[in-house]
């Protein structure tokens, strides 16, 4: 990429009130997570809720704080589908991990 092209990149982005709103939303979602832990809801419900909230928080951070919402779609498409696929592939061993306790001697 030439220096001329880099200098010509136009800056877009969210405003300060938007950043503040995102920050407050992240704090509120964290508060909800801590509340769920305090209430000791059933493990599966808690895991689902915590993972869902974490994905929402991650999406907010990536979109606004990391500016990806204001980048070209081609950047997102280059980076994220591959990464998400690799992470999902790691789930392959979940069945083995879940079966293991029942396979121990005396189980």
């Amino acid at each position: 990429m030439s220096a001329h092209t880099e200098d010509a990149i136009h800056e877009h982005g969210a405003s300060i009130p938007t950043f503040a709103r995102v920050w407050i939303t992240l704090l509120v979602l964290t508060g909800v997570e801590v509340f769920l832990a305090y209430e000791q809801v059933p493990t599966l419900i808690m895991l689902t809720a915590l993972l869902g909230l974490s994905v929402i928080k991650a999406a907010l951070i990536i979109a606004y704080f990391m500016h990806l919402k204001f980048e070209r779609l081609s950047l997102f498409l280059t980076l994220f589908p591959m990464m998400i696929l690799c992470v999902l592939l790691m789930l392959i061993f979940l069945g083995d991990a879940a079966r293991l306790p029942g396979m121990r001697p005396g189980a």
């Binding site: 300060i16 801590v34 991650a58 950047l75």
Partner: protein, 210 residues
């Protein structure tokens, strides 16, 4: 005339274009690093999760007070430091270097508070719960091994981030570096924050002892 028109016409994105991502090379390089590092943390989080699923009687040593309260404050510190980092980038884009340096110092203060609280939490686990990386009273050494590896790698990233921001801050004050350099360091810092958004619920909150 026709050659002039073709000279200014934008090249197709799928042919490479002039700048297919319309971003500078430093930022794109940092994005590639972040994607690869996110796979490292994903692997460690999956290792922790699989160890937990495969091991009956997984320890739940995190009492609401002090562990969960401390880790919640740590989360607040990191989230707030992300906001101050965004403000630093904003100030740099406005050309206000002094304000940018101030915001970066605020970010570093949040990161330093996180590290201090985290070390305090580690000391609490080691001294009061007798959990180390190689063994514990629960008889499940995998817990300590996976916990300290995961949180230790994250804390290492925070410390490296503090050093990185320190270098950026002094350069900004001396009139060196451009706004894009501050933005790239901000990407790294937000990534550190992002990783904690998964470690905090999956490691601490899922093992809370009320």
């Amino acid at each position: 005339m026709s050659s002039q028109v073709s000279a200014v016409a934008p090249a197709s994105l799928w042919e490479g274009g002039q700048s297919p991502y319309r971003t500078n090379s430093k930022k794109f390089g940092m994005w590639l690093f972040i994607i690869s590092d996110s796979l490292t943390f994903s692997a460690l989080l999956f290792a922790y999760t699989y160890s937990r699923v495969a091991t009956p009687g997984w320890p739940t040593p995190f009492h609401f007070s002090p562990s969960i309260i401390f880790s919640s404050i740590m989360t607040f510190c990191l989230l707030t430091s992300s906001l101050t980092m965004v403000m630093a980038v904003h100030s740099m884009n406005q050309g206000n270097r002094k304000a940018a340096a101030g915001w970066i110092l605020g970010t570093m203060a949040g990161g330093a508070a996180f590290v201090i609280l985290h070390l305090n939490e580690w000391m609490n686990l080691i001294n009061n719960e007798h959990i180390t990386a190689f063994g514990n009273e629960f008889g499940i050494p995998l817990f300590g091994g996976t916990f300290f590896a995961l949180t230790g790698l994250h804390m290492t990233h925070v410390v490296i981030g503090l050093i990185y921001l320190g270098i950026i801050c002094q350069a900004v004050l001396r009139g060196k570096f451009k706004a894009e350099d501050v933005e790239v360091s901000g990407l790294y810092w937000h990534f550190v924050d992002l990783v904690w958004m998964f470690i905090f619920p999956l490691v601490y909150l899922m093992s809370a002892k009320i």
